[in-house]
Amino acid sequence: MEYIIHLAILVGIYLILAQSFNLTIGLGRMFNLAHVASYALGAYVTALASTELEMGFGRCLISSALVSGLFAILLGGIALRLAGDYFAIGTLAFASIVSALLINWKSVTKGVLGIPGIPRPEIGGVALYDNLQFGYVVGVLVIVSLTVLYFVFSSPFGRVLRGQAEDQLAMMALGRDVRLINTLGFFIASAFAGVAGALFAYYINYIDPSSFSFSEMVFLVTIVVVGSPGSFWGCVVATFFLVLLPEPLRFVDLPSSILGPMRQLLHSIVLLSVVWFNRAKLFPAQREV
């Protein structure tokens, strides 16, 4: 039972994280490789705020979302001026700077040692050390976040985001400020990634830079690609599928040094085969006039 609750919480965190990633890479087709950096920032802000400043649950969540959101505005301000490969490189550079800061800014982030002892949130004076109770809180937050994201996906704003992915010039000709809309999309996606990071920090109680590595980003790309980029429900199904996929490996008697890479290998093979079979439909090039 404890194991099932653990999986449910994990799936919940990844639902928020992957769906917000889907907003930029899927709907907006902006190959943003810095989403894990937003997630990491959210986790670190909550970790620091709850241990050093002893802030409450609500305040931690909001500050995580805000810091990640502000990061996205900075990122968007630089990267959205670029196109194609340059955009991917710019966001990747941003992500690498964040991970270098997490490792090297030892006076704040404690470097590779990570931040231990993050307390579980208190709601109504009760600390949620029981995973089931914490799971309910995560569940509520997942439903709220997904509902908001669903409305973003189907709102006029979401349609413009989808439209600029297909034909940026046409959207500009229709009088939409594409740069502003993309930045806003970045902000929303990144703020939700911050919330996911905060929940992750609360749940695991201990964070270190290795949770926010390059392979974590490839995992997010895998979820979005498997669920068909830009599709809301596809992404939800893919999150369940991919988070749970490597779990049977746990019951095979494997040393943990093999287990981690094995999980990565499994995910990347799924990614490759999905791209292989859907190559004509995924990420169609911008329409030529």
């Binding site: 670029l82 196109a83 700077i97 270098a100 490839v218 981690g260 990614l271 292989w276 190559r279 090039a285």
Partner: protein, 308 residues
């Protein structure tokens, strides 16, 4: 107080020749890694995010042949070369060629998948711990005035220079090089002139991968090998490429040595309270990417405007 500051500046000046030597060695390694990356971008028009991981895999193969199979170094080098050729061709056939005509975003995704596949395979086979190639007596440093240098580092710098001369000859004095330059300048026109593009792609990609594997082996001798090292070197090659202009070969090579100088001097020089801790050496390269992208996205050496 003033005495201390004076000492610090004196020490700071004294270290310059050593830093310069270190910069040349770092730059040589980056150049060996980045040449393949730049050529691939020029001819195939893809950013190969797995480039550093291919390098890492090749270096591990060399480790396997020399240390674990106890082959002699020349035999091991030949075997690594052959294995690298096979891996590079398979990469092209499975991860690049089926995708690049559909969307420019697909190769980004597939090379990301390749990167994690290689990283996870190597960590399953060899373990995640650091492996070292034994360089024997050539790692003992020799002193020239205030500069320390090992024979191995001389080998790295000299062979890198030789490779670059070879590449220069290949690019500017043979028909192969003319075709490569034509393809990276304008692919459609090159194809219209019946420059055989699939075979050329294969040649260029394998050449670039073999060069970077050579760099990987040198890194293994100079420092050590780790399954996670690939991404860092991909980023360094990217930074050098951004400095010199995407797909601009000589710009990229100049960018590599510039990056070597900037990194070593930024971390090595003593700026008193403003000194950078050594850990920020890598972050510096990423910062350069952002600054160049902001002020001159077409690259510092490129005279053509970027077509975005």
């Amino acid at each position: 107080m003033s005495r201390e500051i004076q000492d610090a500046t004196l020490w700071g000046m004294d270290i310059v020749p050593q830093l310069l030597v270190n910069a040349i060695i770092t730059g040589s390694i980056y150049a060996l890694v980045a040449v393949g990356f730049s050529l691939t971008y020029g001819v195939l028009k893809i950013l190969n995010f797995a480039h550093g991981h291919l390098m890492m895999t090749g270096a591990y193969l060399f480790y396997f042949f020399t240390v674990e199979s106890a082959l002699s170094v020349p035999t091991a080098a030949l075997a690594t070369c052959a294995a690298t050729l096979v891996i590079a061709l398979l990469t092209l056939l499975i991860f690049v060629n089926p995708f690049d005509r559909y969307s420019p975003m697909l190769p980004l995704v597939t090379t990301l998948a390749l990167a994690t596949i290689l990283e996870s395979c190597v960590s399953m086979i060899f373990g995640v711990n650091v492996k070292a190639l034994d360089s024997g007596s050539s790692a003992e440093s020799i002193q020239f005035g205030s500069v320390f240098i090992t024979p191995l580092q001389v080998v790295i710098a000299v062979t890198a220079l030789m490779m670059l001369v070879l590449i220069a000859f290949l690019m500017h004095s043979t028909s192969f090089g003319r075709r490569v330059r034509a393809m990276s300048e304008r692919l459609a026109a090159a194809q219209a002139l019946a420059i055989n593009s699939p075979a050329m792609k294969g040649l260029v990609f394998t050449l670039g991968t073999v060069l970077s594997v050579y760099a990987g082996i040198m890194i293994g001798y100079e420092t050590n090998l780790q399954p996670t090292m690939g991404h860092g070197y991909t980023m360094k090659a990217l930074a050098a490429m951004i400095l010199g202009g995407l797909g601009n070969l000589w710009g990229t090579i100049l960018g590599c040595y510039t990056l070597g100088v900037l990194e070593n001097f930024a971390v090595g020089l003593d700026f008193g309270a403003y000194s950078l801790p050594a850990g920020y050496k890598d972050a510096f390269a990423y910062f350069i990417i952002l600054v160049v992208l902001l002020i001159r996205p077409e690259g510092l050496l490129s005279f053509r405007r970027r077509v975005a």
